[in-house]
Structures are given as C-alpha cells and as structure tokens.
C-alpha cells in the first residue's frame, strides 16, 4: 500500500570522508506525524534535504505515492530563515504559491487564509526583516503551507518557540495530517517528539538507531517502577530477581523490571523496610531510552 505514502529508501550520503547518512530508510504515512530525532550531527537535516530533493543522495531513493519525488510536492520549513528578508509578508506568500503553480487569485486567497489562521493579518504588508522572531516563525510556517502541499517537511519546527507556540504549531500540523498529508519533522527535543508525533525514527551518526510508534519504542523496553519507602536503605531491592536500580534519590528509587520480573516481589521487599508511600508503574520516556540523543532545547 503506497497511496500517498512518502518512502525514503536506503539513502546514503558522504561528505568527503565523513558519512552523513548510511542506508537510512523511513516512511511517513498519510495522516501521521513522523518525527525524526537525534542529537546534533546525527544527519536529520541531510535526511530531510535529500527527502525534499534539494540535495542529491549518493545512493537510495525517495518516493511519494510509489513514484520518484518531483519538485513542487513539498511544503518545507527549514531550520531557520527560508524567506526573502526584503519582501513583504503577503508578497512572499503569494510568490511561493504562484511558484507552486497556483493562479494569482488562488495564491492570494490561500495566503490571506493562512495569514488570518496564524494571526498575521496586521503584519501582511510588513517587510519580513522587520518582524519579530515569533511573527517570523509564523510567516515561515505559512510559507510552508500556502501552496497546499501534498507532503509537509519541517526541520526543527519547535526551535525557539514557547510552549503555547509549540501547541499552536502542532495543531496546524495535526490538521494537515488529518487531511491526509504525511508530515515529517525533525527535532532534537525528544520530549516534544514523543508528545506530538505518531511515529519516530531515532538517528545516531547517520544510522537509524530505532524506529516505530512511541508505544513500540517505549513498550519494548523494561517497565519502570517508582517506589517511595521512607525507611528503606540503599540496596534494599538488589535481592529481587530481574530488577535493576536506575536511580536512587533520598527515599525514592526508580527500578527497571526485566520481562517476567515480579513486581509484587518488589512491593514485598519494599514493605519489609517499613511503610511504602508510592508504588507506581510507568513506561520509560524517549529521553530515558535515548539519553545520548537528548540535548538542551
């Protein structure tokens, strides 16, 4: 089933002697947000640029709807910039719409709709270089959306945004996904990727380290157990089979249980030390699973 599916198939790219990407594959299905994550230099931007066709790959292929990609399919938000600073907001959006093949009227209509939707009405005649960072981000988002693209690609769309702006951005992306558009975004923020994406690929040094839905990635690992026992001494849980201590902080201990380990045995060991005030299960976060990929926002 390849209908409206964006497939990135074993792409590789070298820069001189450095390998930027090594046989990286992923796919974004219509209606889903696919997050590409990883630390600095993991190859996210190169992967996105090859996906867009802006940069050639040494090998591999990118297909949409079963056919090789062509120009004009994508709405693209680069990590920074992407606009012509001296142009006025409305002119820039209409220009991009027309380049994507819209008629002047349609391009105007679409630009005005996105300006209104993103609250940019008052700035429509302003020069882009005179806008503040937050307004400029919204113009950049509008620029990616104005052509009503069949695929959306966003490089670090959350950089520099406050939580409200992140939520607003994700709402728009979710809307587009609901309309059947595959959305691919990259971010170093594993917490945001985990919260907002349906599926995630984790890149490290140009290779795909792990890929799947959030549940697949986090459920495959051992369960996390948080136990608060005020009178327990350090090492109280070591005797329970299948248990590994991840962290001990004052009276709270975080344990990882391997498959088949008995959580009731842990509870019994904890109660043996005295009262137990907290005993909770949870799945690990992506940040906990991939600590090397976590970087400051």
């Amino acid at each position: 089933m390849t209908a409206r599916l964006l497939e990135v198939d074993r792409i590789s790219r070298r820069f001189g002697t450095a390998t930027a990407l090594d046989q990286v594959s992923f796919a974004a299905r219509p209606g889903e947000l696919f997050g590409l994550t990883g630390g600095r230099g993991a190859g996210k931007t190169t992967a996105l640029r090859i996906t867009l066709g802006v940069q050639p790959a040494d090998s591999g292929a990118v297909r949409f709807d079963g056919r090789p990609i062509r120009r004009g399919l994508f709405g693209y938000l680069p990590e920074e910039g992407g606009l012509q600073p001296r142009m006025r907001v409305l002119d820039q959006l209409v220009h991009l719409g027309r380049l994507h093949g819209l008629s002047t009227n349609d391009a105007h209509g679409s630009a005005e709709r996105w300006l209104a939707r993103l609250g940019l009405g008052p700035q429509r005649k302003a020069q882009i270089r005179k806008l503040g960072a937050e307004a400029r981000h919204r113009v950049r988002l509008a620029a990616a959306l104005v052509s009503d693209p069949v695929v959306l690609v966003l490089d670090e769309p959350f950089t520099g945004l406050d939580p409200a702006a992140v939520t607003a951005t994700c709402e728009v992306l979710r809307e587009k996904a609901a309309a059947g558009v595959p959305v691919v975004l990259s971010s170093r923020r594993l917490d945001l990727v985990e919260r907002h994406c349906d599926r995630v690929g984790v890149l490290r040094a140009g290779r795909m380290l792990a890929m799947g839905t959030i549940a697949e990635l986090t459920g495959g690992a051992g369960r996390r157990l948080t136990v608060t026992a005020p009178r327990a001494r350090p090492g109280w849980s070591t005797a329970v089979p299948g248990v590994r201590v991840l962290a001990e902080h004052r009276e709270t201990t975080v344990l990882e249980l391997s498959r088949g380990a008995d959580d009731q045995a842990v509870l019994a060991a904890a109660l043996a030390t005295g009262p137990v005030t907290e005993f909770s299960h949870r799945l690990p976060s992506l940040a906990e699973l991939f600590p090397d990929e976590v970087s400051a926002p």
Partner: protein
C-alpha cells in the same frame, strides 16, 4: 511547472523588488545628477567666450569682430577709464583701444590666443588696405582674390568621429557591467545565507534561479545604463558640449547589444562565486578573481580608447571576448563588418563556456549550505 513560467515569475519578482527598492531609485537619481552636472560644468567651461570692451576709434571694429565667427561678446563701456576698471575686476576679458591700424589690447594678465589672432588679423588687414591704396590698387578686389585661395585638402580616410560619446558609453557600460555583476554575487550569497534558496529549490531548479537572478540584475543594470547614456549624451549635444554626431545613436544601440552579451558573460561567473559562500561577508573571497579580470579589462579598454581610438591595438583587443563588450560599441562607426561579426561570434562562444561553467558551479554549490564550498568540489560534483 514549466521552466519558462518559473523563470518568468522569479524574474518578475526580482525586478519588482529591485525597482521598488529605495536604493535603486536613489542611485539612479544620484548618477543622473552626476552625469548632468558633469555636462553642465563642461558646458560652462567650454562656453566661456571672450568679453571685449571697445573704446575710442577701436569701436569701429565691432562688426568685423563679430563677423569672425569666434565667440566674442561686445561689452559697451562709457570711457577708457571704465574699461580699465572692468578689466581689473574681471568684468571684461580685454579692452581694445587705439586706432584700427594700431590696436592696443589691455588684459589682466594674458590675452586669449584666439582673440589675439583675430585682432592681429584686423590690424594686418587695415595696414594692408592702406598699403594697397597707396599703391593705387583696389583692396576689396584683392581681398576677394586672396579669400578664394585655399590649399587643396585630400583626405585619405573619412574624418574620425568625436571620441567622447564612445568613451562615455564605454564608461557607463563598464560601470553597469561591473556594479550589477558584483550585485549578482552578493544577492546569491544573501539568498543562500537566508536559506531562501533552499525553499525555492523545493519548487524550481537551480538553473531557473540562476537565470532569474542574471535576467533581473541584468535588466535593472540595462535600465540604468540606457537612462544615463541617453540623458548624458542628449544633454551634452543640446548644451553644445558635443557636436551632434551621426555615429552617436549607433554607438548607443551597439552599447545595448553588447551589454546584453557582456552582462551574462561576467554575471554567470559572479553567480558561481556567490553560490560558493554561505555568508554575505565571504563573497569577496570568491568573487575577487572575476572582479579583478573585469576591472583590468575595463581599465585597459578605457586606456586604449583614450589613447588611440582606432589604432591597431584596439582593433585586435576589441575581438577578445572579455574586452569586446567595452570596446566594440565605441568602434560602432569605424569597425569593419567582419570585425563586428567575429567579435559577436567569439563572445557568444565565450558566453557558452561561462554559462556551462557558471551553471555547473552554481548548481552544485547552491545545494550545499552551511559552509564555503571548494571550487574543485563544485566543478566536479
């Protein structure tokens, strides 16, 4: 989207942004004022005829002075004393007094050679008339016979046209080619730095961006060139600084033709230089070789034009593609047709080379953001 539509949209955008920019309007007005100001200064300098005051018997030579065709303005003075005052304070250039056969010229320091010659002629004529009359000959008929006697002139070549329009066109052409060429490099670096190029490349090919940039800057430069050249030459002819010459319109038309060939010849290389860098401030590091070659060709062209506008050196140099755009318009009136055709063909061939090279480097370099691209990598990739 078709390539033609993409290039048309991008070029229209380039032009409307450029023509609306305050810098374009201001620079056009400033350059126009400079050109017109220069013409005006020239007009004032060359138009300063001699103001002459006549006194006593010398007043009789007034009509003969004005009949000589020299620019002489007669200033009436009530007395010789007043005339001397006017000479001292610069009100007149010369005071002429005395009898017609012994004219006395009073000047502040030196006499204008032309005025001196005219007055000498009048005195000599007067003396000659007196001598002829004393010898009982008719001065009028002898003067007529003398006036009809001329050395016969046989010109081997047609008169050389005034070199000034050619030099003016060459200077404006060179400045437009240089200024707007460098602009192409900077703007491509700017767009790459702002990552606007990256977004556009998801829709159009690198070649479309390159064409639009060269067309946009080229047309703006052409407007500058034509406005300044037409305004400057028209003002010079109207004000009398330049004699109206039949060759001037053809120099202008050939100037436009050679601009259209010369601009892309250099601009495609500037575009490649701009694409190699990712920051505006790095542009000179890659653009300087193109700029140096262009400046040397420009300077050499002007030296040749100013020295021997139709010498052998200029005839050979004007066939060299990088020099042709500067030199050929200046030779519009004198170049043989085969020379024009040869220069056109050689320049078109050179344009083919710079288009291939510029496009290749631009295409490969513009797709690599983030750092300066080595020329070798951009050519090979």
């Amino acid at each position: 989207m078709s390539g033609i539509r993409a290039v048309r949209l991008l070029t229209t955008r380039e032009l409307s942004t450029r023509f609306r920019a305050r810098s374009f309007v201001v620079s056009t007005v400033v350059l126009l004022l400079l050109v017109l100001g220069y013409v005006l200064v020239q007009a004032l300098l060359t138009d300063s005829g001699n103001r002459v005051a006549l006194t006593g018997q010398a007043q009789g030579i007034g009509p003969r002075l004005q009949a000589t065709g020299e620019r002489i303005e007669l200033v009436p003075v009530p007395s010789e004393q007043d005339g001397l005052e006017r000479v001292r304070d610069g009100g007149v250039d010369a005071l002429v007094s005395g009898s017609v056969s012994r004219l006395r010229i009073t000047v502040k320091s030196t006499v204008d050679p032309e005025l001196g010659t005219v007055l000498d002629g009048i005195v000599r004529e007067q003396v000659l008339d007196a001598e002829l009359s004393a010898a009982q000959l008719d001065p009028a008929s002898i003067r007529q016979t003398v006036a009809a006697a001329h050395a016969e002139v046989r010109a081997l070549e047609p008169p050389a046209p005034d070199p000034v329009p050619a030099v003016v066109v060459a200077v404006l052409l060179g400045l437009s080619l240089l200024g707007y060429g460098v602009l192409v490099a900077y703007e491509i670096a700017d767009d790459k730095a702002a990552r606007a190029t990256e977004v556009l490349l998801t829709v159009v090919r690198p070649g479309h961006l390159l064409c639009a940039k060269v067309f946009g800057a080229g047309l703006a430069g052409l407007v500058h060139f034509v406005v300044l050249a037409v305004a400057g030459i028209a003002a010079a002819v109207v004000s009398g600084v330049l004699p109206g010459s039949a060759s001037t319109p053809s120099i202008l038309i050939w100037g436009v033709v050679w601009y259209l060939l010369g601009f892309p010849l250099y601009a495609l290389l500037y575009a490649a230089a701009g694409a190699l860098v990712s920051r505006r401030e790095d542009t000179p590091s890659t653009a300087w070789p193109v700029c140096a070659v262009q400046t040397i060709c420009f300077a050499a062209g002007l030296v040749l034009l100013a020295g021997a506008p139709d010498g052998d050196a200029i005839r050979v140099a004007s066939l060299i593609p990088l020099l042709s755009p500067i030199l050929m318009p200046a030779r519009a009136a004198t170049a043989a047709p085969w020379e024009v055709v040869t220069a056109l063909l050689l320049t078109i061939a050179a344009l083919g080379v710079t288009a291939w090279l510029g496009n290749r480097i631009h295409r490969n370099a513009v797709r690599r953001p983030g750092h300066r691209v080595r020329l070798g990598n951009a050519v090979r990739d």
